[in-house]
Symmetry: C2
């Protein structure tokens, strides 16, 4: 399951995608519309900025906005920043790989299955973008 942090982050990105091209959006506005604790949201947005997905402007008329067209940022990219690995096990993670001590990765049956699962998940998350997070209506 995704952490609350990731859930909030994705919702915020969806809101910023919906407002793309309309200038900076206040943290407080995102927090209110998406019902996210504001101080928590501050941390999340800052992290997304540090990792290049968001940009910001300080002072009056400031706020956060997407660094690029919403269709350019995949969900996989966003989730890796906030949540970390997408794979179900460290030994099958592409971006957060950790060697499996206590088992032979060449023969491990579990690993094979988890690779299939990872690929199925990534096929979706590498194709979908934060533009797909925009709410209906």
């Amino acid at each position: 399951m995704l952490s609350k942090k990731t859930q909030y982050g994705l919702k915020a990105l969806g809101y910023l995608a919906a407002n793309f091209g309309e200038g900076p959006v206040l943290i407080s506005e995102i927090a209110k519309k998406k019902k996210i604790p504001i101080k928590f949201l501050e941390n999340i947005l800052l992290q997304l900025k540090t990792n290049g997905i968001l940009q910001s402007k300080k002072g009056k008329g400031g706020g956060y906005f997407l660094a690029d067209n919403p269709k350019k940022t995949t969900l996989a990219a966003a989730m890796r920043i906030i949540e970390g690995p997408i794979a179900l096990l460290p030994c099958v993670s592409l971006n957060f790989y950790e060697k499996c001590k206590d088992c032979d990765e060449k023969t491990c049956g579990l690993k094979k299955v988890m690779i299939s699962t990872r690929d199925a998940t990534l096929k979706i998350l590498e194709k979908k973008t934060i533009a797909d997070l925009i709410d209906a209506i």
Copy 2:
């Protein structure tokens, strides 16, 4: 990411699948072969027994064994017992659904994507069984 508990549980099931039809297997044997802390493994196996996947026999010549042919138990079933939900959000879980407060599930863009992801994952995990967890060689 899956918890250690789930990882251990699946490995143990793989071992029992490999030894299906050959009588009870000692917890200590599984623990040793799969390098799982034995007391931790006890809890896990008991939980799998309570939920019908395993059976056991006490006393000398006792141990754990699969309740049914390994091909009959899907990974989804096993994982739901040990780990809980397979979906990435409670509001898209089939077996552990929780209503999403603070958002309208009918219009939520995030929910749509998470349903796709869930379905892609389940397509694998509902088809693969613990027979697929048997190690090569």
